[in-house]
Symmetry: C2
Subunit: 419 residues, 2 copies
């Protein structure tokens, strides 16, 4: 749940299919050796405005290029997005693009759409092509499973996962000028998480649906701003993926301009919820770390500092060890590459102030340690947040970033992933 739900929005059960005008499906096609669900489809039968943000990595999968190209060609509109999990189809050469084209063409034919109406996202092992006969054989049961209910949304949200422990969904609803508007979303991601997405360019994958219509260019701008404050503000391991993609669909009657601000607040809240859920589900993580930076020269600078602290291996290990080792936080802030005023630095861990004016305070170490322990002892919960607040100067810039602790389990998971 978002830390603060923007007014007038309320949380409702559901996800990607909660807004009107969207159908979804998720099945097991057999792409994964594990036998877990691996094929997901989101469909806007009447069409939708679609804004995309994509990885800025120079080594990116052909499916990412294809999404960006089709959205550009169609002026920011799309009707469907297919997601296969198990194979990232990155570094697969010309075959990568050919397979993405074949898959979307075959799916479009089955859905009665143009190939350009269909987008594709892939996630899994890099360098491994998609087993195409298995993929194509999955289209019949996949399209047969399409539905607008929550069960279909749940299935779609599960089928995009790879090393994730839990699915990530949310839906919010508001009355805007007498009209019920809903935004739903789903996402996946657990490792290789340090999204750096630009406008019309994560292997985080995120999908959002909205049943209010917004002009394509306006929607893209709103989505890009929301992504900067959510997915681009999380880190699990500092590794930006070849396939990171966020696609936000808006379909329905146009919404009055007087409600766009409320809509963007919801868009940001939904994106932040999904981003935080990815950080919390970081490989081997036992808690979510939230760093709030204030007093920076700009909001962008504040986000850079906050994400640098979240990404520090030493900070992550200290949190894992339930050790209020504040020195590592300040050291990370100092190397973030943006201006800070060391003599003005103040730091809080939850309710405990650890530093003031650049120097350590005589804080209650057992209580601070207890604060950290309580958040780890809780069962898997998206609200088990270790919160740091860091004042870095007298500027007006503030920003948030999210990450997770670094555990021995992270090493075990990643020392033996392909073999």
């Amino acid at each position: 749940m978002p830390s603060a739900l923007p007014s007038p929005w309320t949380l409702i059960p559901g996800g990607i299919t909660s807004p009107a005008g969207f159908r979804a499906a998720g099945i097991t096609a057999g792409l994964k050796v594990s036998g877990n669900p691996d094929l997901s489809l989101l469909l806007a039968p009447e069409g939708a405005v679609c804004a995309g943000t994509f990885t800025t990595s120079l080594v990116r999968a052909a499916c990412v290029d294809l999404c960006a190209e089709r959205l550009r060609a169609r002026g920011g509109r799309a009707r469907a997005v297919l997601t296969n999990s198990g194979q990232a189809n990155a570094c697969t050469g010309e075959r990568g693009l050919a397979d993405s084209l074949t898959a979307t063409a075959a799916l479009a034919a089955r859905l009665g759409l143009e190939p350009d109406d269909v987008l594709i996202c892939s996630t899994g092992v890099i360098g491994v092509p998609i087993p195409m006969p298995t993929l194509l054989a999955g289209f019949e049961p996949l399209t047969a499973a399409l539905a607008a209910d929550q069960a279909a949304g749940d299935a779609a949200a599960r089928a995009i996962l790879t090393t994730d422990l839990v699915d990530k969904q949310i839906a919010l609803e508001a009355d805007l000028g007498g009209r019920r508007v809903r935004i739903g979303g789903m996402a996946k991601g657990s490792g290789m998480i340090h999204p750096a997405m630009g406008p019309p360019q994560a292997t985080m994958l995120g999908y959002l649906s909205c049943d209010a219509g917004v002009a394509a260019d306006l929607w893209q701008a709103m989505v890009s701003r929301a992504v900067d404050r959510s997915f681009n503000a999380i880190t699990v391991d500092g590794d930006t993926s070849t396939n990171d993609t966020f696609l936000a669909f808006a379909a329905g009657e146009p919404l009055g301009h007087e409600h766009l601000e409320a809509l963007e607040a919801c868009l940001t809240a939904v994106s932040q919820h999904l981003a935080r859920a990815i950080a919390r589900d970081g490989e081997g993580a036992t808690c979510l770390i939230e760093v709030q930076v204030e007093g920076a020269a700009s909001d962008a600078d504040a986000r850079v500092i906050a994400r640098t602290v979240c990404g520090s291996s030493l900070v992550k290990c200290a949190v894992h060890g339930r050790d209020p080792n504040w020195g590592r936080i300040v050291a990370a802030a100092g190397r973030a590459g943006v201006p800070i005023t060391p003599g003005a630095v103040a730091l809080w861990l939850g309710p405990h102030q650890l530093m003031a004016a650049g120097q350590p305070l005589a804080f209650d170490r057992p209580a601070a340690t207890q604060y950290l322990r309580e958040r780890a002892a809780a069962p898997y919960l998206q609200d088990d947040i270790v919160a740091f607040r860091l004042l870095v100067g007298n500027g007006r810039g503030s920003g948030l970033a999210w990450g997770c602790d670094l555990s021995e389990q992270y090493v075990r998971i990643n020392a033996d992933y392909t073999t």
Copy 2:
């Protein structure tokens, strides 16, 4: 040992005291609870040209500022450097500077030097001041132990260590125009290692001595170039320290200009040896990772790519798991932030080529895995190198970086450092 010793230099036993004109000492003053040696002194009794490079972190210890300031004030000359290990004396406010001033003044008086002749480096826990009475009481036995022999150099090299497993020393000798010239060095560092040092600005600490005289500005330029190709090209955990410092002393009769190129080659080789030794001694590491990048737009770009690959948690875990997961290497190169040509990427692991033209090759996986295993099975050795060679395009830029694998032991060490 440097991978390729530059001509006409030969390796000799020894370290910081091998060049003529330098004396050193290392003792246990009681600054560390462990009872390990913790106070180190390097002295150039006749004075020396001294070039320094210091951390670019905005949060840096007062001792770093003091070193930079004194070198500037004295036109790049110094006579002694004191190193205390156990307390970083960073984030200690005004007391930090006052203690650094008191320490150097007291030591200068004992040595018959001006305070400005004496530099100070501190390493250990951030936010903890130096126990001054213990430090000051250590000066008598420290100065009494000063000697020019190898035992004194060994003692000095051991007293600068914190979480290091081994000391790091090297000495090279050459005949330059009929004159015997020696360069010696020592360093420490195991965690919070991702130096980013600028000219007249690393908790890696490195010290170098040379018994040939070079003009101060020329020496600083040579040292800065060597640091960019050595200490600034290693990473253990991506965390740049508040105290990183490299100090290079040159004392003796001026060396003819025709020999400066050979001298700089040695300076670079000594710095690279020490830097590699730090990376190999990275907290929890079981091997050294060396990444050689070729075909980049510039040497600087090549070093950025090489260091990004070395710093990738996923690459580090794959190496730890002895898993030739090449996709992670290419993904890291793609996000390095400098131009590469994905379609031209080729990759070798030792003698095994894993990729060509941006695509995976059908390589001998058991042999590649065996290559990785052999390098881990060896006992602690600075030559157990996992070597990657990465071609990223058709440019003329090439560069090297060094790192280490990420183990469960790294997490255990850092989850419980202050408590």
